[in-house]
Each structure stands twice: as structure tokens, then as C-alpha cells.
């Protein structure tokens, strides 16, 4: 699985309250959630993400609440993947479970500017900054997680496994 797109960069400790404020948690439609993605930091984010982007975060991306609406909002706003120095664990699992690829890459923040073209190869465990000609080798996700992502999320994965 490979993902390519321009980067939108954020800092450390981006919490789920800024990714999706609590007042929108009564919304169920992912496209409605997407209209408020990252509203706490940049109300223009959904417009910028629409064309398909890769989010680059710092340390502890997605910290705070367990709200799955946060990665859902990002996914449906146009984020194809999130690369961060580290993730908050619930966010990390939630993203995988809804089929939004996430990968840890130490040192990524310092070497990416907004708009840089990035490529992530999940099987190979590589992150490339095509605009800057830089490449990172990262820890690969375990095979069962890659399977969940390839299936499009945990529910699809479970359906497939339960049919066997």
C-alpha cells in the first residue's frame, strides 16, 4: 500500500478537542464531521484538505479523548494518511480501525514544509519527501494491521475473517 500527497504540517500534542470539538460529537455523518475537522486550529483546513493531503504531526498526535469522530473527520475531509513523530495510542488504533493509515516517523517534522510532496510505502516501511529528496526508513506496521488497512478498516477485516 502506497500513499502520495502534499503535506499539511502541525505541531506537537495536537489533541482531539482541536481536531473535532466536543459540541459536534452528536453528528454521525462523517462528511458533516469533516466540515469541522481541525476547527480548533484552522477553520480553513477542510478546504485545504479536499484535494487529498497527508497530515504531518509532531509528538503525541491525537492525544486526549477516545472520540473516533476525530480521525473520521480527518479522513473524510481528505486526509489520506497521517505521519507523526508519535501518536496517542487510542487515536492510533482508531485511525487504523476506520481505515485511515497512520505511521510513526522520527524526525519527520523538522524536514517537511507545508506543500511538500510525500510518499509513504507501508509494506516497505519508507517515507519519502519527494520535494526535498529525503527518505526515511520507519518501523513497519505488523502484518495484521496492514491487513486491516488493506481491507479498509476493522469492521471490513472482521467481516472477511468471520466468513472464513
Amino acid at each position: 500500500m502506497k500513499v502520495t500527497g502534499p503535506a499539511i504540517k502541525f505541531g506537537n500534542n495536537i489533541d482531539t478537542d482541536v481536531i473535532l470539538p466536543g459540541k459536534y460529537l452528536v453528528l454521525l455523518d462523517p462528511y458533516e464531521l469533516a466540515e469541522h475537522a481541525l476547527e480548533g486550529l484552522d477553520s480553513n483546513f477542510p478546504g485545504k484538505a479536499k484535494k487529498g493531503i497527508i497530515i504531518v504531526g509532531g509528538k503525541n498526535f491525537g492525544c486526549g479523548s477516545s472520540r473516533e469522530q476525530a480521525p473520521l473527520a480527518l479522513k473524510y475531509s481528505g486526509a489520506k494518511c497521517i505521519i507523526a513523530e508519535s501518536f496517542a495510542r487510542i487515536f492510533f488504533r482508531n485511525a487504523i480501525n476506520i481505515g485511515l493509515p497512520v505511521i510513526e516517523c522520527k524526525g519527520i517534522s523538522a524536514t517537511v514544509d507545508n506543500g511538500d510532496e510525500l510518499t509513504v510505502d507501508f509494506e516497505a516501511g519508507t517515507v519519502q519527501n519527494l520535494s526535498k529528496g529525503k527518505s526515511f526508513q520507519v518501523a513497519k506496521l505488523p502484518p495484521f494491521i496492514l491487513e486491516i488497512l488493506a481491507d479498509g478498516g476493522l469492521i471490513e477485516n472482521l467481516r472477511r475473517r468471520m466468513k472464513k
Binding site: D17, V18, V26, L28, R89, F144
Partner: protein, 422 residues
């Protein structure tokens, strides 16, 4: 092995587990609430399994948007009630429970040594009773509904050893804010945090719950305290079965990534300033910040011990003009107890408003939201941008004593100085 490793080994049918190992654990209990349950139900229906794996092990609690503040919330609640009825699940509806993390142990759903997952990040609260408890998302909750299992990476552990006696008006909340201030919001990311030492041993279950509750604020997978006599005293009459605690003690040679030592003897009241939970300062450095709202409640600090302390500070005084003070007992049981003890009267007479048991303003979804430029001092657990309403509002986190003193003074105040002035 340490206690977390022992519980995970037992839950996955292994003699031994090591940090980094991925285990397939049997889940003993799962909880969802009204903001995570509906998505979980939707996901569960897509799996195509008709019934949940064990209807005795699924609990639903309405606590975030209750009583329903909008038609949308009312619809979500209706969905949950219907699912609970169809699946014959235990549901704690409006007026029958309160905040999920209080209701779970109160109603006997938390048993030491078990694996509990909840679709809420503060599920780690139950570690206070020696359970392995961690937060998950809605889709994962749906998968647990169907299978009763979850994959977990055995976490590395940090041991936090606490000694010293708390002085007057210094609480478990001040301790945990102090810990987070030093370790940082990612200081325990992916890890288990085991709280131990003489101060934890002497601490009430309420204090232990406050400490474990905020483990997630430093990124921890779980917070945990070895169960003891205090634990069994609280759980007696609430749980159906009480396991032997011998198997739930960390071995003398258990491994920890590191041990951090704290002493509370000289601890000042602590305040987490906007907008990160590790932006912690002693109250003397934040004194005089004017406030518009004071909130006493939440899964962190809405217990009877917290209300007693706040009432002790606020008794025979008035909430300062221009300040709204909100008090929310964490559960119906606590509300009743507060009524019996006359605490509700003390708060009401002081000009505070006491609301029905729910999450309240903590997550900015329901009541007590803040306007731009407003400041709230709160006993809750997060002070992120926009957490409690406007993204231009500010939230300071503190103990029930500090929040009560601040409500009276109209500005962030050391509860010890308020007393001295009277």
C-alpha cells in the same frame, strides 16, 4: 511480572508476557456511553453478527449529553435504549446512574484483576481497583461486542512511588497534576503507570481514582494501583465475586522502564494552565487570575470526598458576584449522599448551581459552556483549546478545594489563604 503484565498474561491464557508482545486478550467488561455508543452500534450492525458475545459483559451509560440537550442527542439516546433492549444489555439511563467512570465501580462492574475496555479515554480510572482498564474507540468497541476479544501490546511500565503526608487542602488531584507537570503530556505514551508507595496505600479509593483517571493525560495506556483492604472495603457488597489479591501484586523482581519518586509533604496546590495539562504551576504563581466560571465535578473530581472538601471551603460564604459556580455530583448515589450530608444545601446557599449527575461542562458539549475570553477554573481533566466551549476561552485545572476557594474569591486562589483571611 508487574500487575499489568500478570493481568494481561492471565487474560490471554499465557504463563508469562513481556513488554512489546502483542496478546489477544479476553475482555471481561466493556462500556460505551452516549457519544461513543451510537457509532459502535452502527459499526456492530455492519459486522453482521446478530448478538453481542456476552450480554452480561456489555454496559451502556448515558452521561455526556444528558438529559438530552438537542434533538440529535435525543435520537442518539433512543438508539442506545433500543439496542440495549434488543440485546438485553444493562443500561444506566438518565437519573439511574451518572458519569460512566463512577457508575462502573459503584455498580460492581469493576473487579480487580479483570480486563475492562471502554469507549472513553478515561476508562483508565478503574485501574484504581487493580483492574487493567483502557480506552478504545467506537469501531473497536463494536469488534469487542462481536468477539469479546481485543489485541493489546503489553506495555512497558513506569513505577511512580509516592510518599509523604498531604497537608490540609492538598489532594490527590494536586499530586497527579504535579506528576503530569513533571512527566509531560507524552511522558507515559503507550505505557502502563503503576502508582505505589505509602501515600497511595493510605489514599482513599476516591483519590486513587483521581490519580488513575488522569494517567491518560500523560499518554498512558493504563494507570493501576495494587488492590488492598481499601479496595475490598469499597467493592464489598457491590461486586458479585471478589478475587484473591495475592496474584495481583507486582513481583519484587518485576521490571519497570523507570521509577519516579514523589513526596507530597511539601506540595502546594497545583494548577494546570491553558492549554496543556502539563502546563502545571503551583497556585502561588497563578494567584489572582480572574475567573467567570468555577466547575466542581467530572469523572476526575465529582466524588463525595471532593464535594465534602469543596463544601468545607465554601460553607457560610458566597460565590463572588460575576462568577458562575457549577457543582455536579458524579453519580446519583453521590448526589443522594450529598443531600443526606447537607452539602447540596451548602452549595446552593452559597449561590452555586447543583446540576444532575453527568459530564457537564467538562467536554463543552452540553451545559456550562464558555464564551470567548472567559476563564473557568475546573476540577476536570483537560484544558485544551475549545475544550469547554469557545476556542478563545481558557480553562485552568485544579483540585476541588482550590476551585471552591477561587469561586468565593472570584480569582484563582490558594484554599489555605482563603481560610487565613476569614
Amino acid at each position: 511480572m508487574n500487575i499489568t503484565e500478570k493481568i494481561l498474561a492471565n487474560a490471554s491464557g499465557k504463563k508469562m508476557v513481556q513488554p512489546g508482545e502483542i496478546v489477544d486478550a479476553n475482555v471481561d467488561m466493556i462500556m460505551v456511553h452516549d457519544l461513543t455508543g451510537p457509532l459502535a452500534i452502527e459499526a456492530f450492525k455492519k459486522i453482521g453478527t446478530e448478538k453481542v458475545w456476552n450480554n452480561q459483559k456489555v454496559v451502556m451509560i448515558l452521561d455526556h449529553q444528558v438529559p438530552a440537550e438537542s434533538i440529535k442527542a435525543a435520537e442518539l439516546h433512543k438508539t442506545m435504549r433500543q439496542f440495549a433492549k434488543d440485546q438485553k444489555l444493562r443500561i444506566y439511563d438518565v437519573g439511574r446512574g451518572g458519569i460512566c467512570h463512577q457508575v462502573m465501580p459503584e455498580q460492581g462492574h469493576v473487579i480487580p484483576g479483570t480486563v475492562i475496555v471502554g469507549a472513553d479515554s478515561h476508562t483508565c480510572t478503574y485501574g484504581a481497583f487493580g483492574a487493567f482498564a483502557t480506552g478504545i474507540g467506537s469501531t473497536e468497541a463494536a469488534a469487542v461486542f462481536a468477539t469479546g476479544k481485543i489485541w493489546l501490546k503489553v506495555p512497558e511500565a513506569i513505577k511512580i512511588n509516592v510518599s509523604g503526608k498531604f497537608s490540609k487542602y492538598i489532594t490527590a488531584k494536586d499530586l497527579v497534576l504535579n506528576i503530569i507537570g513533571i512527566l509531560g503530556v507524552d511522558g507515559a505514551i503507550y505505557k502502563s503507570v503503576e502508582f505505589t508507595g505509602p501515600t497511595i496505600r493510605e489514599m482513599s479509593t476516591a483519590g486513587r481514582m483521581t490519580v488513575c483517571n488522569m494517567a491518560v493525560e500523560m499518554g498512558a495506556k493504563n494507570g493501576i494501583v495494587e488492590p488492598d483492604g481499601t479496595t475490598s472495603k469499597f467493592l464489598q457488597g457491590r461486586v458479585k465475586t471478589m478475587p484473591a489479591f495475592e496474584a495481583l501484586k507486582s513481583d519484587k523482581d518485576a521490571t519497570y522502564e523507570r521509577t519516579v519518586v514523589f513526596n507530597v509533604a511539601e506540595l502546594e496546590p497545583q494548577v494546570a494552565c491553558p492549554s496543556s495539562v502539563d502546563n502545571v504551576k503551583p497556585v502561588s504563581e497563578v494567584n489572582n487570575v480572574p475567573i467567570e466560571q468555577a466547575f466542581i465535578g467530572s469523572c476526575t473530581n465529582g466524588r463525595i470526598e471532593d464535594l465534602r472538601l469543596a463544601a468545607q471551603v465554601i460553607k457560610d460564604k458566597k460565590v463572588k458576584d460575576g462568577v458562575r459556580a457549577l457543582v455536579i455530583p458524579a453519580s446519583q448515589e453521590i448526589y443522594m449522599q450529598a443531600l443526606t450530608e447537607g452539602l447540596i444545601e451548602i452549595f446552593t446557599a452559597a449561590g452555586a448551581v447543583v446540576c444532575g449527575s453527568a459530564c457537564g461542562p467538562c467536554l463543552g458539549g452540553h451545559i456550562g459552556l464558555l464564551a470567548a475570553e472567559e476563564i473557568c477554573v475546573s476540577t476536570s481533566n483537560r484544558n485544551f483549546i475549545g475544550r469547554m466551549g469557545s476556542k478563545k476561552a481558557s480553562v485552568y485545572l485544579a483540585s476541588p478545594a482550590t476551585v471552591a476557594a477561587s469561586a468565593v474569591a472570584g480569582k484563582i486562589t490558594d484554599p489555605r489563604t482563603l481560610e487565613a483571611k476569614q
